[in-house]
C-alpha cells in the first residue's frame, strides 16, 4: 500500500518535448483490449496502490488506481460488503483503475450491476502534471459535469486515473447457483423469466445454462423450490467465476453483443447476460448481426477497435483534445486517429 502520486506526477511532468507519449498500465491483464502502440512508453500505475478511505456504514470506498481488485474485494469482504459490479480478473490479475478504464462489468451488469451504478468520483492526471478531482465520496452530487463516469470504458485516452471512489453494497444474506443442460429452448424459456426476483446472472458455460439468485434470506426457499420444479440442480459458483474472469477459454476470443433473441450458432464458447453477450473462438467466428470486436492481440489492430458513429467519434476526439491536448496518453488505443 503506497502513495506514489508525487513520483507519477514527476515522471509525467519531466519529459522531453520529443517524448513518444505514455501507455498507461496496471497489471497489464487486459492489454488485449484496443490497440497498444509499441512506440509508447509504459506508465505504470500498479505501485500507486491501497485503500484511501473506507467506512463500511457509508457503503463507499476510495482507493488508489493501482490497488489490486483482489485486495479491494478482500477489504470489502471483511465488512461483509462487495462491489456493485464484477470486474474480470484476467490472468487472475487486475487493478481498480484498469477495471474502470476498460468498462467490463461482468455477469451482474444487466441486473443494475454496471460500473455506472457504482462510480462516484475519480482523481486524474493531466499531461502537465495537474491533478484534478471530479465527483467525490457522496452518492448525490450534481456539481459540474459528470466527468467521473465519462472515464468508464475510456481505455485511458483522457489520462490516467489516480484514485477512484465507489459505492459498494452489503453482501446479500442469500446467494444460490443453479444449472441445467443448455439449449435454445431453455435459453428462450429463461428469457421469459429474466425479471425473477433476485436473478443476478444468467449465462451458458460448458454447455450448462447457469443461473445465480441472491437477496433476502426470506426469498430463498421459494426460489429454490421453483427452480427444482423447472429441472435445475443446485451447483457451485464456478460458472460465474468463469463468466466474470473469461477463464472458459485460453485462446483469443471474439466478444459479441447484440439482440438477445438472436439464435445460437452452436459455436458459442460462452454466453452471458441472458443471451445478449456471447464469446466465440477467433477462427470460427462469423459475426451475427450485432456488435463484435476481438479479445486477442493476434488479430489485426483494426478489429480490436470499436466501431462508432461518426458524430460520436467527432465528440470523443474533441473531448480527447480537451483532456489531453498534446495526445500524451494512450494515443491510438481506442481510435487510430487520436
Amino acid at each position: 500500500m503506497t502513495d506514489q502520486l508525487d513520483a507519477i506526477v514527476d515522471q509525467v511532468r519531466s519529459v522531453p518535448t520529443d517524448h513518444p507519449g505514455w501507455a498507461i498500465e496496471g497489471h497489464g491483464s487486459k492489454s488485449f483490449l484496443g490497440y497498444r502502440d509499441p512506440n509508447l512508453e509504459a506508465l505504470s500505475m500498479k505501485s500507486h496502490s491501497g485503500v484511501i478511505n473506507y467506512w463500511p456504514e457509508e457503503l463507499i470506498i476510495r482507493a488508489r488506481a493501482g490497488t489490486p481488485l483482489d485486495e479491494l474485494e478482500a477489504t470489502l469482504a471483511a465488512s461483509r460488503q462487495r462491489l456493485v459490479f464484477e470486474p474480470p480478473r484476467c490472468n487472475l490479475m487486475g487493478t481498480l483503475g484498469g477495471a474502470i478504464a476498460c468498462g467490463l462489468a461482468g455477469p451482474r451488469a444487466p441486473f443494475s450491476g454496471h460500473i455506472r451504478q457504482a462510480l462516484l468520483g475519480v482523481q486524474m492526471l493531466q499531461s502537465d502534471g495537474q491533478v484534478m478531482r471530479f465527483g467525490g465520496e457522496v452518492v448525490k452530487n450534481v456539481a459540474g459535469y459528470d466527468v467521473s463516469r465519462l472515464m468508464i470504458g475510456a481505455l485511458g485516452i483522457f489520462g490516467p486515473l489516480l484514485d477512484v471512489s465507489l459505492r459498494v453494497l452489503p453482501v446479500p444474506a442469500w446467494e444460490a447457483f443453479f444449472a441445467k443442460v443448455a439449449d435454445e429452448s431453455a435459453l428462450h424459456a429463461l428469457r421469459a423469466r429474466r425479471h425473477d426476483v433476485g436473478l443476478s446472472g444468467a449465462g451458458i458455460v460448458h454447455g450448462q445454462l447457469c443461473l445465480r439468485y441472491e437477496g433476502a434470506a426470506a426469498n430463498a426457499s421459494e426460489t429454490s423450490a421453483k427452480l427444482k420444479q423447472l429441472g435445475y440442480e443446485s451447483v457451485d459458483s464456478a460458472a460465474f467465476s468463469a463468466l466474470r474472469d473469461l477463464t472458459f477459454s485460453t485462446d483469443g476470443l471474439w466478444r459479441w453483443e447484440g439482440d438477445p433473441e438472436t439464435p445460437l450458432t452452436g459455436h458459442e464458447v460462452a454466453v452471458d447476460w441472458i443471451g445478449r453477450l456471447r464469446y466465440y473462438h477467433a477462427p470460427a467466428f462469423t459475426p451475427p448481426s450485432g456488435k463484435a470486436w476481438a479479445y486477442a492481440q493476434t488479430l489485426p489492430g483494426e478489429d480490436r477497435l470499436p466501431v462508432t458513429e461518426p458524430i460520436k467519434k467527432v465528440l470523443l476526439e474533441r473531448l480527447k483534445r480537451t483532456f489531453d491536448p498534446d495526445s500524451r496518453f494512450n494515443a491510438g488505443r481506442m481510435f487510430r486517429e487520436f
Binding site: A109, K140, A143, Y145, V171, L315
Partner: protein
C-alpha cells in the same frame, strides 16, 4: 432582438412563437423565482424537424438558446437568456412506446415524471426516481438535472434509471446513446449528459427502465431525544446491511411546523425523527421490520410506529411532504440549501449548523434525505428586517462551505444553474473549471446553448446566491417541495 430573427422564426412550419410581453412573463424564471430575465422570444416546436429548424435560425444569427421543460427547476438552470430564444419542449409530450416485456418506456422529453409511472401502473411497473415536483417536472428536465427524490437511496438517480437518450446538438445533429447498446466499451457519454443542465444538447427522447411495483411496502417512524442520536442511527441502519427505500430526517423545528400544519401524528416533543420506508417481497419486508426495530432500539429510538396500509403510510409521509410549506408558515422567508455530505458527518455538520444558527440569530429547520446525506437546511429570516437577507445569505454560504469542508458537494440534486455558480469556485479549482468549459466547447463550440450557466468563468468566483422564497411566492407554489 433583431427583427429578422423573429421573422425567420415565425416562418418556420410547426413552430409556435410567443413574443407578446404579457405571455412572455410566464417564462421569466424557473422554480428559482429570485432570478428573472425576460426572454426575447419563446418558441414551442412541435417535433424534431421544427426544433432543428429553430436551432438553424439561432445558429444563423448567433443567438443563445435556452431549453425549458416545465420550469420547476430550483437553481435557475432554465432562466431565460435576455437576448436569446427560449425553447419550450411542452409539445413533446407523447409516450412513444411501452415495452412491458423488457420493462422499458420510450418517451418524449416533455412527458412529466409522474405520467410515466401512471402510464405503466396497470402493468404493475413504475419509474423509480421521484423528485418532489414529479407531478409537473418533465423527464427531459430530469435528465438535464440528474434529478433525485425520496427513493433514490435505494433505486438510484435519474442516470441509473435511464437506458437511452436522444439529444439534439446545437449543430443540428442528433446523437443517440444507450438503447440496445447499454454498456459500450467507450467513454460513458450517456452518463455525461445527465446533470449537464441543458448546456451540451437538448434532450429529444428518453428511454427509461421500469421497475416492478414492490409486493409490500411499510413506513416506520421513530423519535429521538437528540439530533446526533438520530444522525448516528442513520449510519447504524446501513451498517446492518439494510438499504431502505427511503430514509428521511426532520428536526424539532421541522416536526413542530409540520404537526401544526397537517397533524401527521409526529412526536412533537422529540428533538429529531426518522421516517423510513422499506419495500420488497412480503417475507422480506417482515424480516426487515424486525431488523430495523432492533437497530432503532439500540440507537435509542422511542415510539417507533409501523404503518403497512396505504392510508397509514400516506399519513406518515404527509408531514414530511408538507414540511417546506409548513416552515413557510412560521417565517416570512426561507432559504433552502441543497448540499450533500458523507453520512458519517451528519451529526457533526448538523451541530455546526446549529452553532452558526445562533451566531447569525437565524433559525434553521432541517428536513432532508438523511439516507443520502443530502441536506436541505431551511434558513428562516424576514426580508423586511434590514440586514436579515444578508445574514441569511452569509449563513447559506457557510453551510455550503461546511459541506465542501466535510468532503461533500454544494448541490446534491437541485443543480448549479445560476444559483450556485459562484460556489463552484470553492468546490473546483481552475484546471477543473477550465476542463468543464472544454467539455462544453466539445459539444457546443459556438457556446450558444444555455450559455453562462452551471460553470463559472474563471474571472468570476465571488459571491453566493440561494433559493429565495418570499411569503411562499414561488412559481408552482402548488407543488410539494421536499
Amino acid at each position: 432582438m433583431d427583427k429578422r430573427i423573429l421573422q425567420s422564426l415565425k416562418r418556420l412550419p410547426g413552430v409556435q412563437v410567443i413574443d407578446e410581453a404579457p405571455q412572455l412573463r410566464a417564462y421569466e424564471s424557473d422554480g428559482l423565482s429570485a432570478i428573472k430575465a425576460r426572454p426575447s422570444v419563446v418558441v414551442l416546436p412541435g417535433d424534431l424537424p421544427s426544433l432543428q429548424s429553430v436551432l438553424a435560425v439561432a445558429r444563423a444569427f448567433s443567438v443563445p438558446v435556452v431549453a425549458r421543460g416545465a420550469g420547476t427547476g430550483l437553481s435557475g438552470g432554465a432562466t431565460p437568456h435576455p437576448d436569446g430564444i427560449l425553447v419550450s419542449l411542452a409539445k413533446f409530450r407523447r409516450i412513444l412506446s411501452i415495452d412491458v416485456e423488457n420493462r422499458r418506456a420510450r418517451v418524449q422529453p416533455g412527458v412529466t415524471n409522474l405520467a410515466i409511472s401512471e402510464a405503466v401502473a396497470e402493468y404493475k411497473l413504475f419509474y423509480a426516481p421521484d423528485p418532489s415536483s414529479q407531478i409537473a417536472c418533465t423527464i427531459g428536465g430530469n435528465v438535464a438535472e440528474n434529478s433525485g427524490g425520496v427513493h433514490c437511496v435505494k433505486y438510484g438517480l435519474t442516470l441509473h434509471n435511464v437506458t437511452g437518450v436522444e439529444v439534439l446538438l446545437m449543430s443540428g445533429e442528433t446523437l443517440r446513446l444507450g438503447y440496445d447498446d447499454p454498456f459500450t466499451h467507450q467513454p460513458d457519454v450517456l452518463a455525461l449528459l445527465h446533470g449537464s443542465e441543458g448546456m451540451l444538447g437538448i434532450v429529444t427522447e428518453v428511454e427509461v427502465q421500469l421497475l416492478p411495483t414492490p409486493e409490500a411496502v411499510v413506513v416506520m417512524m421513530s423519535a429521538f431525544d437528540s439530533v446526533s442520536r438520530a444522525a448516528n442511527a442513520v449510519g447504524a441502519i446501513f451498517a446492518q446491511g439494510i438499504i431502505p427505500a427511503g430514509l428521511e430526517m426532520m428536526d424539532r423545528l421541522a416536526i413542530q411546523a409540520a404537526e401544526d400544519f397537517v397533524n401527521a401524528g409526529y412526536p412533537r416533543h422529540a428533538e429529531a425523527m426518522l421516517l423510513i420506508e422499506l419495500d420488497g417481497t412480503a417475507r422480506e419486508v417482515d424480516e426487515l421490520i424486525e431488523q430495523m426495530r432492533r437497530v432503532l432500539a439500540q440507537q435509542g429510538a422511542s415510539g417507533t410506529k409501523v404503518e403497512r396500509s396505504p392510508e397509514g403510510r400516506a399519513r406518515l409521509w404527509l408531514g414530511r411532504k408538507a414540511a417546506f410549506p409548513a416552515v413557510g408558515r412560521i417565517a416570512p422567508d426561507y432559504y433552502c440549501m441543497d448540499g450533500t455530505i458523507p453520512r458519517r458527518h451528519l451529526a457533526e455538520v448538523l451541530e455546526r449548523i446549529s452553532v452558526r444558527s445562533e451566531h447569525y440569530g437565524l433559525q434553521v429547520a432541517n428536513v432532508f434525505h438523511a439516507g443520502d446525506g443530502n441536506l436541505h437546511p431551511l434558513i428562516l429570516y424576514d426580508a423586511n428586517v434590514p440586514g436579515q437577507l444578508d445574514k441569511a445569505e452569509a449563513f447559506g454560504a457557510d453551510i455550503l462551505n461546511l459541506c465542501i469542508e466535510f468532503g461533500g458537494t454544494i448541490t446534491g440534486e437541485h443543480g448549479v444553474g445560476l444559483e450556485k455558480i459562484n460556489q463552484m469556485c470553492v468546490q473546483f479549482d481552475e484546471s477543473e473549471l477550465r476542463l468543464f468549459h472544454g467539455i462544453k466547447a466539445a459539444f457546443d463550440p459556438s457556446n450558444l446553448l444555455n450559455p453562462g450557466k452551471a460553470v463559472p468563468t474563471l474571472s468570476r468566483c465571488a459571491e453566493f446566491g440561494a433559493m429565495h422564497v418570499h411569503a411562499g411566492q414561488l412559481p408552482h407554489a402548488n407543488l410539494d417541495r421536499y
